[in-house]
Amino acid sequence: MTDYRIGIDVGGTNTDAVVMNSDDDLLAKTKTPTTEDITTGILNALDVVLDDSGVSEEELEYVMLGTTHATNAITERRGLNEVGVIRIGAPATQSIRPLLEWPDDLADAIGNNVAILDGGHEFDGRTLNNIDEEEIREQVREFADVDAFAVTSVFSPVRDDHEKRVTEIIREEIGDDVPISVSNEIGSVGLLERENATALNAALTNVAEEAATAFVDAMDERGIDANLYFGQNDGTLMSVDYAIRYPIFTVASGPSNSVRGAAYLSEVENGIIVDVGGTTTDVGAVTEGFPRESSVAVEIGEVKTNFRMPDIIAIGIGGGSIVDTEGEVTVGPQSVGYKLTEKAKCFGGDVLTATDLEVAAGTIDIGPETPDVDQSTVEAAREYVRERVEREVDRMKTSAEPVPVVIVGGGSILVPDEIEGASEVYKPDHYEVANAVGVAIAQVSGEVDRIYSLDEMSREEAIQSAKDEATDNALAAGADEDSVDIVDVEEVPLSYLPGNAVRIKVKAAGALDH
């Protein structure tokens, strides 16, 4: 028997792990503190769940990991690659240079090497300008010392020839090993946002490779010969190789895993998910079992990007939130974070946290001490949390109709069972490890996001072509042929163009091929 799998989710405060069998039954779960090197925490969690479940290393078929390496590297400007940012599109686009809107320290951290060279296409696939091979070679040689390249060509979501050719030239000049991120594989129409996302991706490949290598080595060390996957932003999985090439797709995997896990545990396919962590509460929406995607530019490290990200609102309330009792009682956004076991009153510290209130009220039993808090403070704090959560739940709703609300995460106790606007409030079994469950049950997916000219084909043909390609991409990513479904089709007409161009986004997803 080798059909067990482990899902691991690394959060800012805790690393959670679960063991599940092929029927998706949960056999063991744990919450262990996240460690600074991340890998130690992963191994600690792994040991606990293997021990508890009695499943041996050899019986594991899959290990799935949701991690925050990439996000941390961006926020802390740590371990980022020096990137050669090449834009192909001159003479167009020269009025705004690459990285213009980046915070100075982040632009400096990736070396601020930018160039705008001849080339690019029009919206309808015509050539905007020819590329100048000699110019590209010279520029690439000038960037010879960078760690990675980011290549963005005007209208590459319509035609990627120029990005392909530049990639070949970089290979010829620098070699096969240098990581190259090409924009059409990362973002959609909107040059600056796509270029930003591509440059961030290029900056992260080294961090991603180190994290992946550490993960793979750790599994080897434990004698685990399972297939390894990383969770990505849309709540599906990617292979280790893919995660190294596209680390930017992992930056929101945590909240996405929670949404998927909460939907699975509660059997709510459409509704609102509230994930209460140590420092923040993430409110997201689940649509047909998948996290709803954000339709606006999402900022990462103060940089605007336009690739697929879940629609999440974070509020500063969690188990470690500091309770202010001066005047009106408020909870957060200041938090003791991972130092809960050191600073919170229930652990003998001197900071009153949201967790302390529940310990005082007797709803939970954590830590050696029982703080003395009067009932009116507990009630006021609960009311404060309820109001904040209700407001964000309402913001995520798509109509006035009451919808199911699922509460998950280690701090779930903070959120009351009655929420205005909710048809029903669920706190499913294993709510505290919903994120690890989410990554353990995740599927693999394939996506297409492209502009089609309807002069040459009908709208139906264009959609079918996008569906076929998305399905092929899902199969290539490892999906089981019988289980692949089209899970999302979106169509965006482009205004002012008589040529009837349309942007079509299609996503297919399926179970892992056993």
């Binding site: 686009t93 009025s95 213009l100 205004s495 163009l497 008589p498």
Partner: protein, 371 residues
């Protein structure tokens, strides 16, 4: 009639964010995102080769015989965010109509203050070291060039030019109507790859002082500032903006449905909003811009040319038609149109019937201030 706002003497780098926000709100859902233009202008202001501010001149202060031209960008907003300008397209068009006419332009005026074309004239002014007239031809955004007050009030279509990023220039001379220029220039723009920089027509200071909608560059900037200030101070940014514009709250609610269709290259459709605490509804029809607002009993609340602005309920930031999505919490403002847009000759071109609606224009009540 005028707004109770300070008239700015110049635009500097510190004004750009506010101008972008204000121009976005006045864009009534269309006009293109001012962001690209703002970044282009920021780049020019930071470049030592160009001045670090652009002077504004009130329409009333223009010499009667001054020569004024309008400049901007033409094309699809979706293209402008992907293939943004080289940076000299509109400037070259300005030089092209000067060389064809033998005249020298003394000042530049925005054709439409709403949306992206609030910024391009300031860029050209910085490049040509010219002042910008504090005013425009729409006070908002409209989809076609014949819809500005310059053409509505009889400016001849004497000279025009469109230029692409490769430097290809097409010059138009003595075109028989503004609508014809729209059709010709639009066709050329498509051939140019969906975006061009334009300049047209040549007008006199006297004409501008009569027919430009005055002080709209200052208005847009002050509007953006008012919204930002309220946001920072924890006041209601939407209310602050509405009060400045002398507008009316038409609705507060959530987007529950968006219908889109693409006809003749226009982003057409409708958006339905639902009340937060009740089942009241508002439907707004759009053709690039928001044009008609109807209550749930089919009663028409506001029609073009009055402004229908959708803004984010919390931040007061403008919401454009292409960004409308389920669940957004928004407020809808109705703002009385500038008086120059409400005359019979203006309504022929930009009234509800001009957009295909069998409706009479019922103006929103005007307050003490306005335009």
């Amino acid at each position: 009639m005028s707004f109770d706002i300070p008239q700015l003497a110049e635009i500097t780098i510190d004004d750009l964010e506010a101008l972008g926000t204000g121009a976005g709100i006045l864009g009534t859902g269309g006009g293109g995102n001012p962001r690209i233009g703002r970044l282009r202008l920021q780049t020019l202001f930071e470049d030592e080769e160009y001045p670090d501010s652009v002077k504004l001149v009130s329409p009333k202060d223009l010499p009667a015989d001054a020569t004024v031209a309008s400049v901007g960008g033409m094309g699809a907003p979706t293209i402008s965010v992907e293939k943004f300008p080289k940076g000299d397209e509109d400037y070259k068009s300005l030089r092209a109509i000067e060389s064809f006419s033998g005249e020298t332009v003394d000042a530049i005026i925005p054709g439409e203050i709403g949306g992206a074309n609030s910024m391009a004239p300031l860029c050209v002014a910085a490049m040509a070291d010219l002042p910008v007239v504090d005013g425009d031809g729409m006070g908002r955004a409209f989809p076609e060039l014949q819809m500005d007050t310059f053409f509505i009030y009889g400016s001849p279509v004497n000279y025009a030019a469109t230029t692409d990023e490769r430097g290809n220039q097409v010059v138009y001379k003595d075109i028989d109507s503004a609508k014809r220029l729209e059709d010709l220039a639009r066709a050329i723009t498509v051939q140019m790859g969906g975006r061009s920089g334009y300049a047209f027509p040549l007008m006199t200071g006297e004409f501008i002082s009569q027919y430009a909608i005055p002080h709209t560059v200052s208005l847009a900037t002050e509007l953006g500032r008012t919204v930002e200030r309220a946001r920072e101070q924890g006041d209601d940014p939407v209310k602050a903006g509405r009060e400045l514009l002398g507008g009316k709250d038409l609705f507060e609610g959530k987007v529950v449905d968006v219908h889109r269709r693409n006809r003749d290259g226009f982003a057409m459709g409708s958006v339905t909003l639902s009340g937060l605490d009740d089942d009241s509804r508002l439907e707004i029809e759009f053709q690039n811009e928001f044009l008609i607002a109807r209550a749930d009993d089919d009663q028409v609340l506001t029609t073009v040319p009055d402004l229908i602005c959708i803004v984010d309920n919390d931040t007061g930031a403008p919401v454009m038609t292409d960004a409308l999505r389920y669940g957004q919490r928004v407020r809808v403002l109705g703002v009385p149109a500038p008086e120059l847009l409400t005359t019979p000759e203006a309504l022929d071109v930009i009234g509800p019937e001009a957009f295909g609606y069998e409706l009479a224009y019922e103006p929103l009540p005007r307050g003490e201030t306005g335009w």
